[in-house]
């Protein structure tokens, strides 16, 4: 799916971004992320989420196309864009045997715009043990350290690469609370990659579904939960053509469908004289699973 938006001040803009690996191609991806938006990049393992974020952070050079952050081109040889980017990935490159505090002190001298005040406020808020060596920190605390490091220089774009993957439920909830606090102020544009679908509901305003290196659907979270429904009805006909339907099952005389365009489906059912029509809402998780399962089929139906 392509997303062409005219604004020049997009927090991030991916234009025809393409990266090829043996047996896998990411893109071409066109995507714009507006300031203040939290966009979840949702996809299964191997869909290309991390590669997309690495291209946006300037860690990988795309084969074709490119990325801009607040109008500045992203490339490892350029440095202008880096002031605006905070990146939290699985590997952050910290000095493992130094304490969290010493790592932050080091970054303070390295990163222009670093605010000691902001760093210590964030560390306090997250309850980060600054005196502990990084290799002795729990995974949750390492994520929090990466987050302090990513935020203390005041970036306007935050790239979060599966930050809750592998965390136990308690720490995950704690880390999500932290993300929630950060994104709540609306000052940061956030691109959040995840395959943990339950994270979506809490954080994202918008969702982009990535499958096999392609964005198959981009939509608003509310829009998604408003338009998708599970519908069951009775009709004597075996094959029924209904708009928006992405999955159709028939159990004896009862039809069970999943639709991504509930109003159109229901209207057609009224025309066809369907009986015992029952409509139920779907959770965002369920919808996401459906989209990732159906992939291009859903994208075609949506376009």
């Amino acid at each position: 799916m392509n997303d062409h938006r005219p604004e020049a001040t997009a927090a991030a803009r991916l234009s025809g971004l393409t990266k090829r690996f043996p047996g896998f191609q990411l893109g071409p991806i066109d995507l714009a992320l507006e300031p203040g938006t939290v966009l979840a990049l949702v996809g299964p393992n191997g869909a290309g989420k991390t590669t997309t974020l690495n291209c946006m952070a300037g860690l990988i050079v795309p084969d074709e196309g490119g990325t801009e952050v607040y109008g500045a081109p992203v490339h490892p040889s350029r440095t202008e864009y880096r002031r605006d980017v905070g990146y939290v990935g699985e590997e952050s490159g910290f000095f493992q045997r130094w304490t969290a505090g010493r790592n932050l002190d080091y970054l303070a001298k390295l990163l222009p715009g670093w605010s000691h005040d902001r760093a210590s406020r964030l560390a306090d808020r997250f309850g980060l043990p600054l005196g502990k060596a990084v290799n002795k920190l729990s995974r949750g605390n390492r994520t929090k350290l990466a987050l302090v490091a990513a935020l203390a220089h005041g970036p306007r774009l935050l790239l979060l690469d599966e930050p809750t993957a592998g965390l136990d439920p308690v720490v995950r909830s704690e880390v999500l609370d932290v993300f929630w606090e950060i994104t709540e102020d609306g000052e940061h544009a956030v691109l959040y990659s995840t395959h943990v679908l339950s994270d979506i509901n809490r954080l994202a305003d918008e969702l982009a579904f990535l499958r096999d290196g392609q964005i198959v659907l981009r939509t608003g979270r509310d829009e998604l939960s408003e338009s998708w429904r599970r519908v069951s009805f009775r009709l004597p006909e075996e094959n029924v053509e209904l708009p928006g339907v992405v999955e159709h099952r028939r159990v004896r005389a009862e039809h069970q469908v999943i639709t991504q365009d509930a109003p159109a489906t229901l209207q057609q059912l009224t025309v066809l004289g369907a009986e015992a029509v029952e409509v139920s809402r779907m959770s965002v998780d369920e919808i996401a699973v459906q989209i990732l399962k159906e992939g291009h089929h859903v994208a075609r139906a949506a376009s």
């Binding site: 300037g58 990988i60 050079v61 490892p76 880096r82 490159g93 130094w98």
Partner: protein
């Protein structure tokens, strides 16, 4: 770049101190053994050379450890968050072994000088032996970095760069083989200086090639 370089040296200081301490221990043991065996031991210049070699080897071995640990800790990711360009990152990578080599040379020079003060003799031969072994280790470290970049280029499908890297490696090896053979056959007063110069040329050339190849990387995630 200098800030990053200083930080790496500070971070790896315990390894360096440990390595040098170990080498110093070996030097003391060797000295005691040489003293005990007296005239039955190696000639004076060889004994001083052997002691110097340990001190020059220690920081270079620490250099190999540093390379591995930096790569394991994915330091590039941290540094690319800041204002460093790939060329500066490559600078940090090649200058670390240069500094370690300099520390080794200094330590070896101190031991040989002390030996010269005690014995009243400074055998040029011992300086050449130490210089040659140290030079080989330094050159080997630089070639290791070049090979690492050639492998990375191959992985990133930069086939021309990979081929250039491997070709540089082969040319360097052939050059050293030819130089060593020439020195062995045509022994003379310029033999040792030629070998030192050969090592230095290969080390500097591979340093430049490594920086060029690193700058052309398309993937900085590893």
């Amino acid at each position: 770049m200098w800030h990053a370089l200083r930080a790496e040296l500070a971070y790896f200081r315990p390894w360096l101190i440990g390595g040098m301490g170990l080498a110093l221990g070996v030097v003391i043991i060797v000295s005691v053994v040489f003293f005990a065996v007296g005239d039955d031991g190696p000639p004076g210049h060889a004994a001083a050379g052997i002691r110097g070699m340990f001190l020059i080897m220690a920081p270079m071995i620490v250099g190999f450890i540093i390379q591995t640990l930096r790569s394991e800790e994915r330091r590039t990711r941290l540094l690319l968050a800041g204002p460093l360009t790939p060329r500066q990152l490559a600078g940090v990578m090649v200058l670390l072994p240069v500094i370690l080599f300099a520390i080794g040379v200094l330590a070896a020079a101190l031991v040989i000088s002390a030996d010269a003060l005690v014995t009243g003799k400074l055998a040029l031969e011992s300086l050449h032996i130490v210089g040659y072994v140290g030079g080989m280790l330094f050159m080997g470290t630089m070639i290791g970095l070049l090979v690492q970049e050639a492998t990375a280029a191959h992985r990133q499908r930069r086939l021309l760069a990979a081929a250039a890297g491997w070709a540089s490696f082969v040319v360097a090896m052939l050059f050293l083989a030819a130089l060593t053979a020439a020195v062995v056959f045509l022994q003379g007063p310029m033999s040792w200086p030629s070998l030192h110069l050969g090592n230095l040329i290969v080390a500097l050339a591979t340093m430049v090639a490594t920086v060029a190849m690193y700058t052309g990387r398309t993937d900085f995630t590893r």
